[in-house]
């Protein structure tokens, strides 16, 4: 496999036991790959399973059938069937996921949240501190906020902390779920710049970006999700 990330005939549906076992089809027959140094954008109207694909790649959602292959150094891991410990190892070394929502332990400062992600991603303590400061600075997070827990921040501020956290460690696969949804133009440009830096450094990037300008700025190849089938209700 030369791709950094590859979906092979992936299908997913939700079985809603609380609604009498109703099956909600999400996606079927998803086949695509992202190469190192490539940026790809999942495209399609809402409800077509873009977010689910991204979450499946990260192991946050289960995959019913098919394989989701991630290159992890010399080996390839199928996230669809990997044991929890393997997925955790993959997240620590290989994959970053930047969501729209920040979920952190209360009471931990913004700087610490970002630094901790750097250390978990293999940076030394010093590197993590330097890079965290650098990222928060570039993302225009006012320095007076760095020592405060992000729970008290505005949506845009929280999102920037989240981006810094997702980008601090140089992981080869980057999954982005609307990373700029609540940012202003200036900060979007910074994010686009950061993403481009990571791409140029060889990361494979798969994202959901609704904003056309942002999509253009990161120069992503479009993957049309509507061309995949939808899983049939059982």
């Amino acid at each position: 496999m030369t791709a950094a990330l590859e979906f092979r005939d992936v299908a997913k549906s939700f079985t809603l036991h609380l609604r009498g076992g109703a099956v909600l089809p999400v996606i079927a027959g998803a086949n695509f790959s992202v190469a190192p140094g490539e940026c790809a954008v999942l495209w399609g109207p809402s409800g077509t399973g873009k977010s689910s694909l991204l979450r499946m790649a990260y192991g946050n959602y289960r995959c019913d059938t098919g394989a989701i292959l991630v290159r992890d150094g010399a080996r390839v891991v199928d996230v669809a069937t990997a044991a929890p410990r393997e997925v955790l190892a993959l997240r620590a070394r290989t994959m970053s996921y930047v969501s729209q929502f920040l979920r952190v332990i209360p009471r931990v400062s913004a700087q610490d949240v970002v630094e901790a992600a750097g250390r978990e991603g293999g940076l030394s303590e010093g590197e993590a501190r330097d890079r965290a400061g650098d990222l928060l600075f570039r993302l225009n997070l006012p320095e007076r906020l760095w020592d405060l827990p992000p729970a008290t921040f505005s949506g845009g501020e929280q999102q920037r902390v989240n981006i810094a956290r997702g980008l601090i460690a140089p992981r080869p696969v980057l999954l982005l779920d609307e990373p700029t949804a609540s940012l202003d133009g200036q900060n979007r440009a910074v994010v686009a710049e950061l993403i481009e830096e990571r791409r140029a450094a060889g990361a494979a990037i798969l994202g959901i970006v609704h904003d056309a300008a942002m999509r253009e700025a990161i120069g992503g190849r479009i993957i049309d999700v509507t061309r995949f089938g939808t899983a049939r209700a059982a």
């Binding site: 809603l16 036991h17 289960r62 929890p84 955790l88």
Partner: protein, 256 residues
């Protein structure tokens, strides 16, 4: 790698009532495993069996000791079992009065395990107790106060210090945050997460609070009526629950 602790087919019944049925789990260093479920689902019974305090009716627990030998808990004599429980393991209880000596000062509570290991230098014990009180954010000038004068959150932090002072490898926690104010809970969760990460502990935490499980644990096991109905990555089980009961549990949580 061999897990630090693994359980196979753990079963415990009280007359006709099934407390635990065929539970399998394993945990290794640096991992936090959450066991969630309603009260009466068998979580605490399971924890007592893992701690060696309750003998299972069927099934086996294996523990990898410091020499790397994998031992069946049931085959370890009571003397060694108690010694393991005082040194290699920790048990943070829901009710601090059960996990602490309420008539003994904070320093004495932290120092007890050291004295149990044969430490006979008062100055060293005192210094170690001060260091641990600091690590769990209890002011040094409270070292001679008994836990009866501590708040609920402080008592739990003292329990943690008392347990971690011998550098255990496995820490079991039974609802450590329940009954605490939300802000106090957050502080405790942060502390548990930080220490378990720094010290590379294996932690099994029993909780009925899914938010606690999400914040602290890597993996989760959902229990119902004595059985594990679903297990896996914590965020996967909570965000994409497959089992009917887990879906009910997840959907029953009040969003903050």
């Amino acid at each position: 790698m061999t897990p630090l602790l693994s359980a196979h087919g753990l079963t415990k019944t009280y007359g006709p009532r099934i407390a635990c049925a065929g539970v399998d789990l394993d945990i290794t260093e640096g991992e936090v495993l959450a066991i969630v479920g309603e009260s009466g689902s068998g979580k605490s019974t399971l924890l007592s069996m893992l701690a060696g305090e309750l003998a299972p009716d069927a099934g086996e627990i294996r523990y990898r000791d410091r020499e790397g030998r994998v031992r069946a808990l049931g085959a370890i004599g009571p003397a060694e079992l108690r010694s393991l429980a005082r040194t290699d393991w920790g048990f943070v209880r829901q009710d601090a009065a059960q996990g602490l000596r309420m008539a003994v000062s904070a320093g004495g509570n932290v120092g007890e395990r050291l004295m149990g290991l044969g430490e006979r230098h008062y100055g060293n014990i005192r210094a170690c107790a001060l260091d641990w009180l600091d690590r769990v954010e209890i002011a040094a000038d409270r070292i001679d106060d008994p836990p009866t004068r501590f708040s609920g959150g402080m008592r739990q932090r003292l329990q943690i210090a008392r347990n971690l002072v011998t550098a255990p490898r496995l820490v079991l926690m039974d609802e450590p945050t329940s009954g605490l104010d939300v802000s106090v809970q957050a502080r405790l969760l942060d502390l548990i997460r930080r220490l378990s990460g720094e010290l590379g502990l294996a932690v099994v935490i029993v909780t009925h609070d899914l938010a606690v499980a999400r914040l602290l644990s890597h993996r989760i096991a959902v229990m119902r009526a004595g059985r594990v109905v679903e297990t896996g990555l914590t965020d996967q089980v909570l965000d994409d629950p497959a089992d009917a009961y887990t879906q009910l549990l997840v959907s029953s949580v009040l969003a903050a």
